[in-house]
Subunit: 383 residues, 2 copies
């Protein structure tokens, strides 16, 4: 096992009816900026529940945060924080609203000219406190330090992370997810599934507990994901998917293990260039990464194959191949295509993706061994 630090201080409040707990989670008289997205929370009753729980606070609102939250929009939210002397940010929505709100929290105290520097590695030394009411299980952003921000005018999608933007509390009421459509639901399942895989299907450093914790999430998503899709009002299925998504990226699976975030890094470029939903970019890239890296990842692919898919027959190559194909089939079964062509990505675009990553000096993969040529080769293996 590798050495590690783990810090996950978010207070999680989980279950039906828990939005009402905001009343005790948010101190009286706080000046709160409620951030949200495209307005679904006004249609499904979440907005009303939040406002009813916060009658003792001074609540301002900022809506319109996009899927793949846009830098320009977030700068307006920063201005709103200053105008209203906001003391707490309350992100109500999915991962995009929450990621955007994390950026706002950090940018609020940024002292340079252009807070985009935060996305380029400038240190975050202070941030507004954040709470969240999560309505879309997928990214795990509700209890981790990470955020991904987009800036369409320069076609960039970049990440930053800081302990200072880990939400202080997160309310997860599975019944708020009843109204998610099939596309959003499937995207969330795929996103969480791939988060686990990127922390598990690497090379072995003797972490039997972490491996089993990863398999626990994968197997549960395999069982419960299709139920949530088929029966959107199945509370237990929604609850199990929601809890899986939180556990998939709260830092626990990274403890002592080796990660390989190549799928995410390449996927971000596909989203920046062709507008794919985040989860769908992962579905496209993961099979290519695995096919390219099948020798390095063989032991873990076989372990996953046996424990998650029950693939135990045949020689190693046969089992690795079957594991990759079964995983692709799982995404297809959820209604998520893994083909670049289906998203309008032309083969001649592969070089551009690889060049953009190379231009930032990125070396991807579990040993940092994937450069420009390897990324092109990976994308050619995506089908």
């Amino acid at each position: 096992m590798n050495n590690f630090s783990h810090y996950c201080p978010t207070r999680l409040v989980f279950g039906e009816g828990t939005i009402a707990h905001l009343e005790r989670l948010v101190p009286e008289s706080k000046r709160v900026l409620l951030t949200y997205g495209q307005g679904s929370i006004k249609r499904n009753g979440v907005y009303q529940q939040v406002m009813e729980a916060l009658t003792r606070c001074e609540v301002f609102t900022f809506g319109g945060i996009e899927p793949n939250p846009q830098y320009a929009t977030l700068l307006e939210a920063v201005a709103a924080c200053r105008e209203h002397r906001v003391e707490l940010l309350l992100a109500v929505g999915g991962g995009s609203v929450l990621d955007g709100t994390k950026f706002v929290a950090a940018a609020h105290y940024f002292e340079g000219d252009d807070p985009w520097a935060i996305l380029e590695g400038a240190r975050v030394s202070r941030a507004l406190p954040i709470g969240t009411v999560l309505t879309l299980p997928a990214t795990g952003s509700e209890s981790n330090p990470n955020a991904v921000i987009s800036r369409d005018e320069i076609r960039e999608k970049s990440h930053f992370g800081s302990e200072l933007v880990i939400p202080e509390f997160a309310i997860l009421d599975p019944s708020t997810t009843f109204s998610l459509d099939a596309r959003q639901t499937a995207n969330g399942i795929v996103d969480a599934f791939v988060h686990v895989l990127e922390q598990y299907v690497t090379y072995d450093v003797n972490t039997p507990l972490q491996d089993r914790q990863a398999e626990a999430i994968l197997s549960t998503l395999v069982e419960e994901g299709p139920k949530a899709l088929a029966h959107p009002h199945d509370y237990d299925a929604r609850a199990n998917v929601m809890w899986c998504a939180t556990q998939a990226l709260n830092g626990l699976l990274a403890c002592g293990t080796v990660g390989d975030w190549a799928t995410h890094m390449i996927g971000h470029e596909l989203t920046a260039l062709w507008g794919l939903d985040h989860a769908r970019s992962l579905a496209v890239v993961l099979p290519g990464v695995w096919r390219h890296e099948r020798a390095r990842k063989r032991d873990k692919l076989m372990k996953m194959g046996a424990r998650v898919w029950g693939i135990v027959d045949g020689d190693a190559e046969t089992r690795v191949e079957a594991t990759i194909e079964r995983t692709v089939q799982f995404m297809h079964d959820l209604g998520v295509s893994t083909s670049p062509a289906d998203y309008g990505i032309p083969p001649e675009g592969f070089v551009e993706v690889a060049s953009r990553l190379a231009a930032r000096g990125m070396r991807l993969g579990e040993r940092g061994h994937l450069g420009r040529d390897e990324v092109v080769a990976i994308l050619k293996l995506c089908a």
Copy 2:
């Protein structure tokens, strides 16, 4: 899944050489009381490592905290805190040192006459901050709010819990556990194993992820525990056992599930009356609880049997029986007897145990359905 809250804010720093991280974890010039037990930390080099990392702080020491930490001793530590105007408690040792230190942290600000009231339910409204260097993986106390304190003069062993005594940080260096003897090592494995079982082998409320997370710890302890016993200097085995013990009682397995802490509650009485090691009291009581409750726990016993022990043949009763016996065998294989007689507990003592619990109005079991008569029946089923 049941509604739940989960809060586990401890910063965990895990791995060989991490005691040196104390230098950045403890702010400069802090007045620290280092609490410890019977002195093993002076023999195995841990004390020296701690002191070398804290040269910029003012460090006072308080040794002699017993296994099953004694109230009278802890009151002396409270006095030391006041005398030295201590700002941070640093518990260096195992669960007993840490539990005792949690009590000291809370008692420091207690305003009544006798801080034993904290063990009788008095609210903790303030506590000294706590950090820990854990040297014995077992209790999970390093990242939870719980503590168990003994008071031999009145033959009591009682529990309290408060978020205010959750350690702010915990350093877990598996190499500090190389010097544990077989008895301590086995006790730790059994303690962690039973912690998982008491949160898992109850009744089903549709928590497939939590169930698998429980099985992940159990299976890993079954694999790694014997390795740590056979090869005390096997770093990976020690690391895996240590990480299992932390994960077994950090609140995660309790999320949304039903607990049954009857084994712990009855076990505490055995320790208070006959001085059993905590883990051994659990090993004695668990089989009796399971035999008495086999009908209520049937589904989970069968699930555990299949997934942890590979018991899949025969009818339900056969599989339940085999699961109980296989679990008992695991404890025996670790060198831990499950027989009351082996610990000098006479059959006529069973009524006293049950009467003590009844006198406190305790109703035990997953549905609070176990009273005095049932506790006697359980103890008669312990063999």
